[in-house]
């Protein structure tokens, strides 16, 4: 039993050790400062933040509906929302392509009427990232809304607060930790998105080549720089884990 556990732990630890050991620490900063790297990092940060904003703005009402209303077919709606979490990202990319490419009805309408092309554009990157990231936000916030004592909202309403005031002054502050956690999870997922992005938005330097895509590409041409970028994402992951330690690692404060 203990032996198997050690093997399992090594399975997690060895790749990490490999990554740290292969890093060219002396030239790390230079690798990160190269134009290819900075372009990928800037694009990744911009698109992942926008995807997070999108996930929060759209995911919040969705979480509220799932937690608080009794709409018919709610189980089906929830399954649909959770699907991107288990769906292979590349399949998600193909699905997005089918819906929004310029050859699809919706995509051609968007292009003809608004001049918007999602495929092979930064906007497509944002959409692909939001597609895979939003479920993390929705399930986190929905759980928090369910766990909230609805009597606080009743008290607020009883004191004369309108539904908007109740949500803004009572509901939202009470679930704020879950909203923050959901947003961070979504952002981390969006930042690491690869499959759906490369399938839907392509791999155009400076426009759709995010960090994970750059790492994949540079592994052939410039492995040192690929490892340096990988370390950046590893660092971000650790930061997220530390930030959410109370929720996930059974922190002592809860």
């Amino acid at each position: 039993m203990l032996l198997a556990a050690v093997v399992a732990l090594l399975l997690f630890a060895l790749p990490l050790i490999g990554l740290l050991q292969r890093a060219d620490w002396g030239n790390l900063l230079d690798d990160l400062r190269s134009p290819t790297s900075t372009a990928a990092m800037r694009l990744s940060i911009e698109t992942s933040l926008m995807a997070t904003v999108l996930a929060v703005a759209l995911g919040m009402p969705l979480a509220w509906v799932l937690a608080r209303t009794d709409i018919p077919g709610k189980a089906a709606v929830r399954a649909l929302v959770l699907l991107p979490m288990v769906l292979p990202p590349v399949v998600g990319g193909v699905a997005l392509l089918s819906a929004f490419s310029r050859r699809s009805p919706l995509g051609s309408w968007l292009y003809d009427v608004f001049g918007i092309q999602l495929t092979f554009s930064p906007a497509g990157v944002v959409l692909a990232e939001a597609f895979v990231a939003m479920p993390f936000f929705v399930i986190t916030v929905e759980a928090a809304l369910r766990g909230l004592d609805a009597r606080y909202e009743q008290v607020a309403a009883g004191l004369g607060a309108s539904p908007t005031q109740v949500f803004r002054r009572v509901t939202l502050p009470l679930i704020a930790p879950a909203v923050a956690a959901g947003a961070i999870l979504s952002w981390a997922r969006a930042l690491g998105e690869f499959g759906a992005t490369i399938t839907f938005a392509g791999n155009i330097a400076g426009r759709t080549r995010t960090l994970p895509l750059a790492i994949y590409l540079q592994l052939e041409s410039d492995p040192e720089s690929a490892i340096a970028l990988s370390l950046v994402l590893l660092l971000v992951s650790f930061a997220v884990l530390v930030g959410l330690r109370d929720r996930w690692l059974g922190g002592a404060r809860r």
């Binding site: 009597r151 606080y152 607020a156 009883g158 607060a161 009572v170 502050p173």
Partner: protein, 349 residues
């Protein structure tokens, strides 16, 4: 601006049918054992349970009347509520909890906070205004919850077991503060409680509910001195005396009552009628509370007799029919009444 309530609710086989009225500036206690229908009564007034029959009218407007298909939702009723669990907003300071209702009414933030601070200071909570509920003691949190409900000046204030969740050591003082605050409230206050002491010390009027029906209703003095059933007698049929305590002595209208435990300041003293012993001559022995009395009336109460006595202080004694025969009491008989100090309880008022 009175409340007239005829509340008929059928819930899971439980059948509630109670009627009562309540007047502004007075405190009505709804008393009864657990499961009697107190909470359902409260929720019907609040609007979280709809009536099946009857009618609720508050200050001239109908809140619920199934016969006329009229129902006002809870948010639209001018009804304040203090929950047993208080339910103070955990993310807001005591000040912002109190200011919440004012802000919802559109009062500007600074003004709402100023008025909340004023109210908090009046209850001695100036230092706690910035504290979150988790940092307040049980008694402090209870006061904040009361102020939060009162600050919007509701027509009707409902208090659900307001002292039940408190530590017994702070209950007396908190009850006294609650009483004083309710005295200044010009609307109708209804206190739902299973604790007779709450009713005795807070209420002007009483409704006793048993098994979903009103067992007795009236002013506190009427109900305590003339309980109409054995059950009501056991619950509320006690001698309630106001006085000023200094140590173990309580001064009340020239008469001194001796307590076993020291108290200080304005108090209520309860003397259970069954603890009042009657004697034909001045009793010897250890009872320090003894007064010469005259029998005013004799009423049966279940298996016992309630003897109403006039004297230095009005008193009701409860004795068995056998004792009555031995003492040969009738209206006008002169007797001595004695009570052991250990039978008395004092509550701050």
């Amino acid at each position: 601006m009175t409340l007239a309530a005829q509340i008929q609710v059928r819930l899971d086989g439980f059948d509630l049918d109670v009627s009562f009225t309540a007047a502004p500036g007075r405190v009505l206690a709804v008393v009864g054992p657990n499961g009697a229908g107190k909470t359902t009564t409260l929720r019907a007034l609040q609007g979280t349970v709809a009536l099946d029959g009857g009618r609720i009218e508050l200050a001239g407007s109908v809140l619920d009347d199934p016969g006329a298909r009229a129902f006002v939702v809870p948010e639209a009723r001018r009804v304040g509520m203090v929950h047993q669990d208080l339910l103070l907003f955990p993310h807001l300071s005591a000040r912002d909890n109190v200011a919440f209702g004012l802000r919802a009414q559109g009062v500007a933030k600074a003004e709402a906070r100023r008025r909340a601070d004023e109210q908090l200071a009046a209850l001695g909570l100036a230092a706690q205004a910035g504290s979150r509920p988790s940092a307040l003691s049980g008694g402090q949190a209870q006061r904040v919850a009361l102020l939060r409900a009162l600050v919007t000046q509701p027509d009707l204030l409902l208090l659900d077991e307001p002292l039940a969740a408190l530590d017994p050591t702070v209950r007396g003082d908190t009850r006294r503060d609650l009483r004083r605050t309710l005295r200044t409230f010009s609307g109708i206050a209804i206190v739902v409680t299973h604790d007779p002491i709450d009713a005795l010390t807070l209420a002007d009027d009483v409704v006793v509910i048993e098994h979903g029906r009103v067992a007795q209703t009236g002013t506190l003095a009427e109900v305590t001195s003339r309980p109409r059933s054995r059950h009501v007698a056991e619950l509320l049929g006690t001698n309630l005396i106001q006085g000023v305590a200094t140590g173990t002595e309580v001064q009340t209208g020239g008469t001194v009552i001796h307590l076993a435990d020291a108290a200080e300041g304005d108090v209520f003293v309860t003397i259970p009628p069954s603890a009042v012993a009657l004697h034909t001559a001045e009793p010897e022995g250890s009872a320090r509370n003894r007064w010469p009395m005259t029998v005013a009336s004799i009423e049966p109460s279940g298996e016992r007799m309630r003897i109403r006595l006039d004297g230095p202080l009005p008193l009701v004694a409860e004795i068995t029919t056998a004792s009555l025969a031995v003492l040969q009491l009738q209206s006008g008989t002169e007797v001595w009444a004695s009570v052991k100090a250990t039978e008395l309880h004092a509550y701050p008022r």
